[in-house]
């Protein structure tokens, strides 16, 4: 609309748009990438969210994702926790002018989202699978390289595979058989031609007249006393199959087998009096993610829940986290149970076996526990994970169990941030232990339990 209305069309205000749209998209992608990175940083908080691990698997969860902001010096919110601003409209002091729901707010003390630069909460949907992808990016299960996943051969019916010279009539491979017959035809034709010196087309008519029987054909060719058209050329030869018993071909059947990978997880937990709800929650969170990982790797995963105090018993999943008992602790009872379950239901030739034990470290008979663990290692289980959950800094008992493990097995202590990790040097005794003191340790412990190539030589 640059000029007066009388302007001709050529100078109408349609100016070719300058192309930035690819840039807009690409820059938007970069921003989303940064958001993803921010989620990744928040993983220790997110994965410990109670709403995630208590719900159904394979559902979509919602996590708040912020728009990234350019960091700037700016005035902060009040220390007294008040946030707000200026607004406009009707209403008097104390009136509620609006509401916003805060779903998934657990009220947990660590439940607050991270406070890195960012406002404008946008609820973004993210699947648990995607969260796991995030974690997977720098994780891998130990002994999960191809050769390490024990694949079990199972029968899965029959399948046709190749051909055979014999077989029942129903499996006759007509196509293959005819092909063989045609081959024989050409072979015979060549032979007749050489033997008799007659033209190939003549040999063809003789062969046809003789129904493919060579002696008859030879006889016919001797005196040519059979009806055959004159003046034909080789191009008029119309091959037909001459099938001898040797030419019969049959479909070959094979037993179909499949390689299937399956794993069993023995989840053991101390439910004695010293295991508080908070400790159990950590155990539950870890266990949830550990099994989620295994489910990505194995086609089939069994989980058996074993609780113990002074005796061990198998329980349903619901009861696993709910049960609380008073009294002392004998860890070996649980290990014993795992040993006998492997013998009865989960032979190592068929199953990949993972055993995870969560306890606060209290054990009245560590020596026997160690002995039972040795038996598990002798059976060549894939991995034994030990989570010592010990949120109280100054516990009144010493972590006898871990000390006992350290004494018996060749273990090395390392640190992942402020998480203490104790792992065996090689996979003869595949032991990984972690001392979990706070929520943020859950992710670090997961990483330790699932570290790729831990025992690679």
């Amino acid at each position: 609309m640059k000029t007066s209305p009388s302007t001709e069309e050529a100078s109408m205000p349609v100016i070719a748009p300058e192309i930035v749209s690819e840039r807009g998209k690409a820059d938007a992608r970069r921003h989303r990438q940064k958001q993803r990175d921010a989620i990744r940083k928040q993983l220790p908080h997110i994965i410990a969210e109670e709403s995630i691990i208590t719900g159904k698997r394979d559902r979509i969860i919602k996590i708040p994702v912020k728009n990234m902001q350019i960091p700037e010096f700016k005035h902060g919110q009040s220390k007294k926790g008040k946030t707000g601003g200026l607004g406009q409209g009707k209403g008097g002091k104390g009136d509620i002018i609006g509401k916003r729901s805060v779903p998934g707010k657990t009220g947990g003390k660590d439940g607050k989202p991270g406070s890195e630069p960012g406002v404008d909460y946008i609820e973004t949907e993210i699947e648990i699978a995607e969260l796991i992808e995030f974690m997977m990016e720098d994780l891998g299960l130990p002994r999960l390289e191809e050769k390490q996943v024990r694949k079990i051969v199972v029968e899965a019916g029959w399948r046709v595979h190749g051909t055979a010279h014999t077989g029942p009539q129903v499996l006759r491979n007509n196509k293959k058989t005819v092909q063989e017959g045609i081959k024989r035809f050409w072979f015979m034709l060549e032979m007749l031609h050489k033997e008799t010196g007659r033209a190939k087309v003549t040999c063809f008519y003789a062969l046809r007249e003789a129904d493919g029987i060579i002696p008859d054909a030879l006889r016919l060719l001797e005196n040519l006393e059979f009806a055959h058209p004159e003046g034909m050329t080789e191009e008029d030869i119309a091959p037909f199959p001459i099938i001898h018993p040797d030419d019969e071909r049959y479909h070959r059947l094979e037993r179909k087998t499949a390689q299937k990978s399956q794993a069993v997880v023995f989840a053991m937990m101390d439910v004695s009096g010293s295991m508080t709800d908070e400790k159990k929650y950590y155990a539950r969170s870890l266990l949830f993610w550990l099994t989620e990982f295994l489910r990505r790797i194995y086609e089939h995963v069994d989980i058996r829940f074993i609780i113990h105090h002074t005796i061990a018993k198998i329980v349903a999943e619901e009861d696993f986290f709910r049960t609380g008992e008073s009294g002392g602790t004998f860890c070996y009872t649980a290990y014993e149970m795992v040993n006998s379950l492997i013998e009865s239901d989960y032979p190592l030739s068929q199953w990949n076996v993972y055993a995870w034990h969560f306890s606060d470290g209290e054990d009245f008979d560590p020596a026997r526990t160690v002995a039972e663990l040795k038996k598990l290692f002798e059976k060549k289980i894939n991995m034994f994970g030990y989570g010592e959950i010990n949120p109280e800094e100054s516990s009144y008992f010493t972590a006898e169990l871990l000390d006992a493990f350290k004494k018996e097995f060749d273990l090395k202590e390392t640190r992942e941030g402020d998480l203490k990790i104790v792992a065996s040097v090689d996979d003869d005794t595949p032991f990984i232990g972690a001392v979990i003191k706070k929520k943020e340790h859950i992710l670090a412990a997961l990483k330790a339990f699932l570290k790729r190539d831990r025992w690679q030589k």
Partner: protein
């Protein structure tokens, strides 16, 4: 857009310009570009017709696009640039009446650009759009040469600091040497004066001697200190004195700095500028309808958009609502003579309420406001208790209702004086905290020392840390920031590896606390 429609639009433009001229607005040739919605969305995000790549622009583009695509709301309708020849966009798929409204609105903006003291200054950056276009190309080359991450890191750093600008938007701060020269000559002048007084025997010899000694010390400091005077333009200082910037990185920072300087006048006058444009589009449209140039149906479309754009916001201030109200209020008040000493000092509430001298100074006043005010000045002068009350402004607070898993927004305060204070803070220093460079050679090691002018409001901790990281990236040596946390002097330091926060317990800061509610928000 059909040819017919374009022609009609062109006719509307002619009439709008005539009306504008009759109303006393400055009319200037403006390019209206008819574009697809996407193009408009991009222009909104990138600030210029073409600009360099950055994730923050991508974020805004994504944001506008998502709203546009999914909610049908947020029809983009206005983008205008204060270029030498002002340029505005019209969306080809927008209703005709909306495009006419946009034109009438843009005419208001263009007048403001040319009329207002500050935005007029912004026009001295007339080639800023061309610069942005070339910068986009250069930055792309840098990306392929030095890597996208490095380019992004330096852009991030520049953007972190860009809004810390000198108080006077029309003046550049002198560089170190100029400032030093000036300061030294000033001190020398003082010394000469003191010496003269000593000679004349005024004020006692001892006293003069002490004064001269102090001035000598100050002189010595002025000779060596860098910067000699506190510097508000942090980014400019960093560009000039950084220990590590390479040429291409300086180039990137200077583009960002230049754009921020060019946009600052707009940022300082945003509320007035939108207010002025809305004030005028209302009037111009009224006349167009009066003249029968638009149909009744189009009137409906216009009203629909106009009302949507200017509606009050419960949780925030809509400049399209508050902005025009300033002019309406001022026009009315000055028409009735509700200003000046006599009016202010009137203590009879009834008399004051009915005050009307038929001064008819309204038009004059609104043109004066648009010519010489910033938003900050407008708040100071025009946000009287009665105006704030009339606007129905309030302060709200967010409260978590744990039981219902809801955040509730509750009106906390309607006191106009407190509201005015908050608005004044918000419109000062482009909304940034006052932070200055006090030492560019801290620890005699070229470290950067910043000081926050604490006014009762603390800095946001996480943002402070991240900004220091970005500053370090550009500066190349440790950076420090002095501020107040929990009423105690506190020093943030970042050395490239970790942030340390030293909180000095011994020395408690005390300050006025009269408007404490202000700082809780």
């Amino acid at each position: 857009m059909k040819k017919q429609e374009l022609e009609r639009l062109a006719k509307m433009e002619t009439r709008i310009l005539q009306i504008a001229e009759e109303e006393g607005l400055t009319v200037k040739e403006t390019i209206f570009e008819v574009v697809p919605a996407r193009r408009m969305l991009e222009a909104m995000a990138y600030m210029f017709p073409v600009n360099f790549s950055h994730w923050s622009f991508g974020r805004d583009y994504d944001y506008h696009r998502t709203i546009y695509d999914h909610s049908g709301a947020g029809i983009p309708y206005e983008q205008v640039w204060n270029f030498d020849v002002p340029k505005a966009l019209l969306v080809e798929t927008n209703p005709f009446a909306l495009n006419v409204l946009t034109m009438a609105h843009v005419v208001g903006h263009v007048d403001f650009f040319l009329r207002n003291h500050y935005t007029r200054h912004g026009r001295s950056f007339a080639n800023i759009a061309e610069e942005a276009r070339f910068a986009a190309e250069r930055f792309m080359k840098y990306e392929s040469k030095y890597g996208e991450e490095k380019v992004e890191a330096i852009i991030d750093a520049g953007m972190s600091l860009r809004w810390h600008q000198p108080h006077d938007p029309l003046l550049e701060e002198p560089d170190d040497e100029k400032a030093r020269e000036y300061k030294i000559s000033l001190i020398q002048e003082k010394i000469r004066y003191a010496q003269r007084r000593a000679k004349e025997g005024n004020g006692g010899a001892e006293q003069s001697e002490a004064a001269i000694k102090a001035l000598d010390l100050e002189l010595a400091r002025a000779r060596s200190a860098t910067p000699p005077e506190p510097v508000y333009d942090i980014l400019k200082y960093v560009m000039a004195r950084s220990h590590r910037l390479r040429k291409w990185e300086r180039d990137i920072l200077s583009v960002i700095w230049n754009q921020a300087r060019a946009l600052a006048p707009n940022a300082r006058t945003k509320m007035l500028n939108e207010g002025w444009a809305t004030y005028w589009h209302t009037r111009i449209m009224r006349r167009l309808f009066g003249e029968g140039l638009l149909s009744a149906e189009e009137h409906g479309v216009f009203l629909d958009f106009h009302n949507k754009v200017t509606q009050q916001q419960k949780l925030g201030l809509n400049v399209y609502s508050v902005g025009p109200a300033i002019f309406e209020y001022a026009e009315d008040a000055w028409n009735k003579g509700r200003f000046g000493r006599e009016f202010e000092e009137c203590r009879n509430p009834r008399e004051k309420a009915e005050w009307d001298t038929h001064a008819m100074k309204g038009k004059e006043k609104v043109f004066q406001i648009s010519a010489s005010y910033t938003d900050h000045m407008a708040v100071m002068e025009l946000f009287t208790p009665e105006f704030i009350h009339g606007l129905e402004l309030y302060i709200y607070e967010e409260r978590l209702n744990e039981e219902r898993e809801e955040v509730e927004y509750i009106i906390l305060e309607k006191n106009p004086e407190i509201i005015r204070q908050i608005l004044m803070h918000r419109h000062a220093f482009l909304g940034t905290p006052e932070i200055v460079v006090v030492n560019g050679n801290y620890n005699s090691h070229g470290e950067l020392y910043l000081r926050h002018g604490y006014d009762g409001r603390e800095l946001e901790d996480t943002y402070t840390r991240e900004t220091l990281r970005n500053t370090f990236y550009a500066w190349g040596r440790p950076v420090h920031l002095e501020t107040i946390v929990d009423e105690k002097p506190t020093l943030y330091s970042y050395d490239g590896k970790s942030i340390s926060v030293k909180n000095d317990d011994a020395d408690e800061w005390t300050g006025e606390d009269d408007l404490s509610i202000l700082f809780e928000l």
